[in-house]
């Protein structure tokens, strides 16, 4: 009984204090002294974005921005639930992979008219458009490039003044590094997770001239010799190293256990903190041959969108326009280091002149390819990953994997067409 009484008393006190504070946390939509409120949800750490928002509020004294940082874990569920309840924020950051689902689902505000004026000052518009309409502004973009370990290359007797410039050179380097033994892998290949392997295989397939969908998006164009060539090259590299998940490969690369891998600029931020002594190079993904193919890569990014049911769409647009402009987006990119601005002319900033590795990623953006904004895109990406993974595990040949993935993509495209 003593326990029961103690627990009951404690509980009572707590419940009373909680009931007293109910409502104290909820923000009203009216700002202070006649200012309108813009609710902005985004994923970057608060300290990286808040200075830019403060600057915006200084320039726009009639707007109060209330920013909430979302978590990468389950952030998507939070946005989805808010949209379902008509409770969406005014402005929201959406990854380019998530964008097609929201745009085709009819959840986003149509910005086609107002965005036209920004046409020439931003890149990456393909990411933000669906069926000829613009539903977002490209804010920060990111791509993947080739990261290679200079120490291991030197030990294996490979030229370390420049990165591998063709597939043959790359394969040769991976083979030599892999032969060093001692737990060192020549290449780091991805498997065992969603929406990653695609970004690593397609640079080779695109580089050989492959594509995903027909120009009008109604049929698959995946079953081509170029794609088979690209997948074959990736499988060859995978045999010369280890197959693992992204974060494990990144860690192994930083620990000096991987000769080369395709990764993103987050490595540039992690390396000084985790392994300051690591000597590595960054270069463009090599084309098949010097005079054939391109240095392709995957183009992804963060878009700013407003929802059809957002309360303050006008304020959201003003904030979005400010955030994507050159200086504010550069300010975020400089501290974050894992993304580059979508704003045209950002490359002229002294930051990129002083950091050659960051500059390579910015150069890689020029030949990077965005994924189609098809309503069934995530299913198509999954189809490619499932089939290529089968080939990676030796279940089927590269050609069979490409044909099977293409059949699935075609079925998805046709089904979407019929709807």
């Amino acid at each position: 009984m003593i326990l029961a009484r103690r627990v009951a008393l404690l509980g009572l006190v707590l419940v009373c204090s909680v009931l007293a504070s109910v409502g104290c946390g909820s923000g009203g939509s009216a700002g202070q002294a006649g200012r309108t409120v813009v609710i902005f949800w985004q994923f970057f750490p608060t300290e990286q974005v808040q200075p830019v928002l403060d600057e915006f509020m200084k320039q726009n004294p009639d707007i109060e921005v209330r920013m909430e940082q979302l978590t990468w874990q389950s952030g998507l569920e939070k946005i989805t639930a808010a949209v379902a309840a008509g409770n969406a924020p005014d402005l929201c950051e959406l990854g380019s992979t998530w964008f097609p689902g929201f745009a085709h689902g009819g959840a986003l505000a149509d910005w086609s008219d107002s965005a036209a004026a920004l046409e020439t000052s931003l890149t990456g518009w393909d990411m933000a458009r669906v069926k000829g309409k613009t539903y977002g502004l490209p804010w920060l973009v990111g791509t993947r490039a080739l990261f290679w370990n200079k120490e291991l290359f030197a030990r294996a007797g490979i030229d370390t003044t420049r990165g591998p410039s063709t597939w043959a050179e790359l394969t040769d380097a991976a083979r030599k590094v892999n032969a060093l033994g001692d737990g060192v892998a020549g290449w780091g290949a991805n498997a065992g997770e969603r929406y990653v392997l695609f970004k690593k295989v397609m640079p080779f397939a695109w580089g050989a001239g492959g594509s995903l969908l027909s120009a009008d998006g109604t049929a698959s164009a995946f079953d081509s010799p170029a794609n088979v060539e690209g997948v074959t090259q990736y499988l060859a590299l995978a045999k010369l190293g280890r197959v693992d998940r992204q974060e494990q490969i990144d860690d192994a690369f930083l620990a000096g256990k991987v000769g080369a891998t395709i990764s993103g600029s987050w490595i540039l931020r992690k390396a000084p903190k985790q392994e300051p002594a690591l000597r590595f190079g960054v270069s463009l993904v090599p084309p098949p041959e010097l005079d054939r193919g391109t240095s392709a890569s995957f183009l992804g990014g963060e878009l700013l969108v407003s929802f059809a049911k957002s309360k303050n769409q006008a304020g959201a647009w003003r904030l979005a326009k400010f955030l994507v402009s050159k200086e504010p987006s550069l300010a975020v990119a400089r501290v974050n280091q894992a993304v580059q601005p979508a704003a045209v002319g950002a490359i002229d900033d002294p930051f990129y002149a002083s950091d050659p590795n960051q500059r390579v990623l910015l150069e890689q953006l020029a030949t990077a390819v965005p994924t189609p904004n098809h309503p069934k895109w995530l299913d198509m990406e999954a189809a490619i990953e499932d089939e290529v993974e089968k080939a990676l595990y030796g279940k089927v040949t590269a050609a069979a994997a490409v044909t099977a993935a293409s059949a699935k993509i075609d079925a998805l495209a046709k089904a979407a067409q019929a709807k």
């Binding site: 998507l76 989805t80 379902a84 959840a107 498997a191 997770e193 969603r194 995530l378 499932d386 595990y393």
Partner: protein
């Protein structure tokens, strides 16, 4: 095995006090139980995207029919059942053994209890992240295999070992929890019964089989049912460690319906999978009740 004393009681009319005892549950049930439950059940008959709730379309049983034709649904269900039947015997057995061992008094027992309970207090997300590291090629498990001269498998990246690896982690993480429930159950058994039996010369194992185990039956049922329900909904471990891969070898039912609901925005279809899983869970729980011949007061 017979149900304990509670059931041998004369019928009486329903008293007001019964309703007072039940009132809080019923109010909360309506708001936070019945409504979401009913809502999502209704959704399972609709083509419903949370992004455009206004354009929901009634489909009848089409979602259920699609699920039953969907090879990935069956693949996920197969993996889930493998997980359930591959972990529960070990978790339950280990928990019971630990509870029996840690029930009696000995020096340092509280520390032992705390030690075995420790995995339960860490969030599943963190546990999964830690084990992901333990299973990495440089991790201690691979190191141990190499130390004994073997070639370590690639654990989470091999379709044959990925699911068993997650199952092993689950047994590790869950046993201490059910141990505590068994410990509480053991405390409900009157010492007098043991004393009387001991006086009549019953051996330790006699007393275990004829007193402890029968009287532990309701606890046993509770552990089985709760663990089955939890295991059938295995999600976070997969979400953090493998995302269903490689080659769908760790795709579980709830992970699959999560992908449908939040990557493909097919909440209706996801709900139909959830209610198929619900039906299966209900059957399994009912079988467990029948098997242990345990029911409440007969009305």
């Amino acid at each position: 095995m017979s149900a304990p004393a509670a059931v041998r009681r004369k019928p009486r009319k329903v008293e007001a006090s019964t309703w007072i005892l039940l009132a809080p549950w019923i109010v909360a049930l309506l708001f936070f139980g019945v409504y979401p439950f009913g809502f999502s059940f209704v959704l399972s008959f609709f083509d419903y995207s949370p992004l455009s709730p206004d354009s929901a379309r009634f489909l009848g049983l089409a979602n259920y029919a699609e699920a039953l034709r969907d090879p990935l649904f069956w693949k996920a269900l197969g993996n889930t059942l493998l997980f359930v039947f591959g972990t529960i015997p070990f978790t339950t057995g280990l928990a019971l053994l630990l509870a029996l061992a840690l029930d009696g008094a000995f020096r340092g027992r509280d520390l032992y209890r705390a030690g075995f309970f420790l995995p339960t207090v860490v969030s599943v997300v963190v546990i999964s992240l830690v084990w992901k590291g333990l299973y990495s090629p440089e991790g201690p498990l691979s190191w141990l295999v190499r130390a004994f001269g073997g070639t370590p498998p690639s654990w989470l990246l091999d379709e044959r070992t990925a699911l068993p690896a997650i199952m092993a982690m689950d047994v590790w993480a869950a046993s201490g929890y059910y141990m505590i429930i068994f410990l509480a159950g053991l405390k409900g058994i009157p010492v007098e019964l043991h004393e009387a039996a001991a006086l009549e010369g019953a051996s330790r194992s006699d007393r275990f089989w004829h007193i402890t185990l029968p009287l532990l039956a309701p606890t046993f049922l509770f552990v089985l049912v709760v663990n089955s329900i939890r295991s059938l909904q295995i999600f976070t471990e997969v979400f953090v460690m493998t995302r269903g891969g490689p080659l769908q070898s760790t795709l579980t039912s709830v992970f699959y319906l999560y992908e449908q609901a939040f990557y493909k925005f097919r909440l209706g279809y996801a709900s139909s999978i959830a209610y198929l899983l619900f039906a299966l869970t209900l059957v399994l729980a009912w079988l467990q009740v029948k098997w242990l011949k345990l029911e409440g007061p007969k009305s």
